[in-house]
Amino acid sequence: MMHSPPAGLRRAQNSPDGGSRDFSRRSALMLGAAAVAATFGLSGCSAVLPETDVAAANFGKNPSGTIRFWCRATAFKPAQLIVDKYHRAQQAVRIDLTVLPEGQMTTKLATAIRGGSVPDVVAPDSVTTPVFSTRDALTDLTPLINGLPYAEYLNKPLLDVASFNGKIYGLPALSNVSQLFWNKELYEKAGLNPEKGPGNYAEYLEHAAAVQSINGVSGVTFTGNSAGILGYVIQPHFWADRSPFYNGPLGHQQAAVLGNEPLRRTLELYRSFYREGLAQPGAEADSGAAWGQDFLKGTVGLFPGSYDLVVGSATPEFLDKLGVSAFPGPDGNVSQFSGGAVLSIPRGAANPGAAWDFIRFVGELEQQSELAALGWYPVRSDILKTGFAEKFPLMVPGMERMNEGFAAPTTLYTQLTNTVQSPWLAMFREAVFSQEALDDVLQRGHEETARVLKVNQA
């Protein structure tokens, strides 16, 4: 018995004029073309969301409703503190706080922008803000920030990192500052002046060697295998001479490793620490899991570290033994990393008026004082005119040098510094821990930095 195809199909196949076949082919082609056109049509759209006119007369007047606020896990405590205070201070605006896992802000916010559903306020790591400000993703807050009565006292490095093409896209909210700590008790035992930390590389090496001479004590402790921490505490050394390993305007930056004498001398300094046995045992493998714990135990003389880590973990007695300063450059200049968070309003936010009301609230002096109690540096220098110095003496040097800090103005901080694949980590490790000639390491570091900049700025 023969099997025949269904009537319709068979007729189409046998049609003398081929009309049905043509119809099918034409339909298929049209459908395909429509699909391609639709997708190309989609590709023609962009992820630039509409921007609110913050200069409008009624902007931010009588704020109400709910705002969505995204912060990263590190800033959860201060964010929750401020949100609770804001809720107590008024009833009209409620905040829905979302805490993102560390390292997820860029991906989550970018995806939200592409999806067209963004939060009203975001507090990314300060080095992440340029990723979005340079891509037309944030609201221009220039007139609002310049109009604040305390605008002149704001943390300048953080304002710089929030700025692009003369516009300001965020208000500095809180800061964490890298500092060089030393143990005064060990300094005294080593015959050093406990009130004065190293002012240049020669002194740094000399101090570390003197402390090392005490039995059972290391001169200095640093994490040899954490890209983020190394960026935070080592790069300020050569930033002190305004010599980052990349430079140029955002989006058009160039590698600046070769010929960068402050960078070279910084790597030589840490190579000396390691080769001369002045660093803590295991520095090469230290990934930061127990960052600074040896210093807090009193077995290390010098610690390039972070205020919140030291103050959050040390006993009051130990804190009395500490000296603190910014990082010395090769010949006496100083710098520090001005990290922290900048509060921004993404374009397309549903409630930007209320979002600004909250941001303005965070900047007030009362809130800034409370952030200091949690270990975060305030972002206003006028706080030093209050009783701040008595309450937070170890914060004073960092606050006084607030505007000498560096906040890494680049859209590629993650790629250049903050990952295991970064040219910075490879260059530091090879320069400090390997036996390779420094010239070769720097040559490779330059090439790799140039490659990363090229592929990401194309």
């Binding site: 018995m1 023969m2 025949s4 269904p6 009537a7 319709g8 199909l9 068979r10 007729r11 189409a12 046998n14 699909a35 391609v36 997708t39 190309f40 989609l42 590709s43 023609g44 759209c45 962009s46 992820a47 630039v48 860029t106 991906t107 970018a110 995806t111 922008i113 592409r114 990723v131 979005f132 891509r135 037309d136 993703a137 295998n225 295991g282 090469e284 493998a285 990934s287 899991a289 127990a290 993650t414 790629q415 990952t419 295991v420 694949q421 980590l425 490879a426 490790r429 592929v455 990401n456 194309a458």
Partner: protein, 313 residues
């Protein structure tokens, strides 16, 4: 003898079997529409979830498609860049090496375990459960555990090796690309061996006992029986496991993302991790999609070769 019904005559001639007049077009169209209607749900699902995303992905790969910012059509530039991207090709080579080693080791260990538990002797059930447990726990959880246990200061691995006198000082295993790769391969084998064991064990248990008795009568010893009877009869199972294991290893992401992040440097950078970093770290979705298509072509080619080899066998 065949008989032809009037309806079949109508189908074959396109004419009415009774009158010889042309069939009414409306009735045939109705049949056609019915067929199309019945196919529609399946076609719709395939179109929405396969065809359109695939076409869309092709389009994305021909643009810069940043997650944030203006989209610009750039033709085949992403593909040209991919072919000159030394990091990408380095990750391909690394991934293929990882896939070959981890697949081979996984099958070898799974086979040995299957030999151990294929008979229902006392304690076999306990061993099966114990070996299968890591597969149930999953590689994500075990990767986080591995980070702790591979640490140089407090990890169990270092403590064990120090106590046995094999090493004399704490070792940062994850700081070296080779040692990190070895540990990740071992972790993958630990997790996947249970699954391989179960598949091969079921295959072994389906082999008739008479074949072994015949081989024994012919003078074959224990290992000869294994290689001349068991292995040939398990070829289909081994082939399946090879293809699955290889594709899984080529797509490896989780354990590398959690344990090493692809480091030190690019020492453990797999292709999928590189594609992920490009898409969600560098926000270059267009380029990452182009890289994905290159990976698809390579993986498909290798899988076809595997199938061809198995068929010839």
């Amino acid at each position: 003898m065949t008989t032809t019904t009037p309806y079949q005559t109508q189908l074959q001639t396109g004419k009415s079997g009774k009158t010889g007049k042309k069939a009414p077009r409306r009735a045939s169209r109705r049949d056609s529409y019915t067929g199309m209607l019945m196919l529609a749900p399946a076609v719709l699902l395939v179109a929405v979830f396969v065809i359109v995303p695939l076409v869309f992905a092709v389009v994305i790969s021909l643009t810069n498609w940043p997650l944030v910012g203006e989209v610009k059509f750039n033709g085949v530039e992403n593909y040209v860049t991919a072919f000159a991207d030394t990091v990408f090709w380095g990750s391909i080579l690394y991934t293929l090496g990882f896939a070959v080693i981890s697949t081979a080791l996984g099958i070898a260990v799974g086979y040995l375990l299957a030999m151990l538990v294929r008979s229902n002797r006392r304690g076999a059930g306990l061993i099966r459960t114990a070996v299968f447990l890591p597969y149930v726990i999953g590689i994500t959880s075990l990767s986080f555990v591995a980070i702790l246990e591979f640490r140089p200061d407090s990890g169990a691995l270092d403590q064990l090796l120090l106590n046995l006198g094999i090493t004399s000082a704490p070792t940062a295993w994850l700081l070296d690309g080779t040692s990190a790769t070895v540990l990740i391969v071992l972790l993958g084998t630990y997790v996947g061996a249970g699954f391989t064991m179960i598949i091969l064990m079921s295959g072994m248990q389906s082999i008739p006992e008479e074949l072994y008795e015949s081989a024994q009568i012919d003078g074959a010893g224990r290992w000869k029986q294994e290689f001349l009877v068991t292995v040939p009869l398990l070829k289909r199972y081994l082939g399946l496991l090879t293809v699955m294991g290889f594709i899984g290893a080529v797509l490896a992401f989780t354990q590398f993302f959690i344990i090493t992040g692809g480091g030190p440097g690019t020492g453990t950078l797999t292709t999928m991790l590189y594609v992920y970093n490009k898409a969600f770290g560098d926000l270059q979705v267009g380029y990452a999609t182009a890289l994905s298509f290159v990976v698809v072509v390579i993986a498909a080619g290798l899988t076809l070769i595997q199938f061809r080899v198995m068929r010839e066998d």
